[in-house]
Symmetry: C2
Subunit: 138 residues, 2 copies
DNA sequence: ATAAAACCTATAGTAACTACAGGTTCAAGA
DNA sequence: TCTTGAACCTGTAGTTACTATAGGTTTTAT
């Protein structure tokens, strides 16, 4: 079996993120400062791979760094309970729904404009898209 | 009737954006450098109100500054035709749809986690949300 | 005339990274 | 063992679209 230590490049591959991002997470305290080799290279263990995966997947779900910091505190301190984490996930789901609603309205507006636009061959002066955006005050 | 000149503060109110944002748009070339008063204050006319409204509404529809710069070039140069603008609006609609799809998947993931979580009273060790995020390699 | 509100410029800060520059260490082949 | 190239190191600057602050000047209203 191989030793359970990973270079930062290996960690990056295992958790599907970039080396620079790991540096950044370390600087901002999401990832711990790992032990180093003689020469000063970072040396990671399996727990780091797990933690970084957690961070990446949380980012993919739209959590901000600050929210993830909070989630990690819940995990790091063993006296916290699941309720707080559930509440955060529910809140996050609500925010995502809100964003979806906004984008749906936005899409409506765009489609309306596109439908009305005669397209090629007509000058910008007659373009209803421009019209729609260029609302003159009074 | 009043003179058709507006201070930057009045312009900001008429186009529903902040004074600092107008400064920023000027620096980055979206808004032109307007004439000044004796004392050096910016003096705007109706065309500026229209242009700033155009920019704001385009931003609300999710266009980036670079895209708006392009749209404004189409408008500023009288030899362009509506087709290019229609194409940009359609492309934008496609991108918005893509974002909506991504967020829908994300919401699914969150709701699944929330549904499985027993909540209050259970320790973090048993939490399926943590479980779902903390995917161990190997 | 005076004082408050609005304006001016320039710089730094925000989120979450990404991309250098210029140097050091590690791993593999000859 | 030596060498070379890949991977690593630190630190700083750039990205997007603004927002905020500081410290000073002009305008406007009383």
């Amino acid at each position: 079996m191989s030793t359970p230590f990973y270079s930062i490049g290996q960690l990056a591959k295992l958790a599907a993120c970039k080396v620079e991002t790991i540096h950044y997470y370390e600087k901002t305290g999401l990832m711990p400062e790992p032990p180093r080799t003689e020469g000063g290279h970072r040396s990671y263990a399996l727990q780091h791979v797990k933690r970084l995966n957690f961070i990446r997947r949380s980012r993919e779900l739209g959590f901000t760094i600050e929210q993830i910091r909070k989630l990690l505190r819940f995990i790091d301190e063993p006296d916290h309970y699941c309720g707080e984490i559930k509440a955060m996930a529910m809140q996050q789901a609500r925010e995502v729904q809100q964003k979806i609603n906004d984008l749906e309205r936005l899409k409506e507006g765009l489609n309306l404009m596109v439908a009305q636009c005669k397209g090629q061959g007509y000058s910008v002066d007659d373009c209803p898209i421009i019209e729609a955006l260029y609302i003159a005050p009074e």
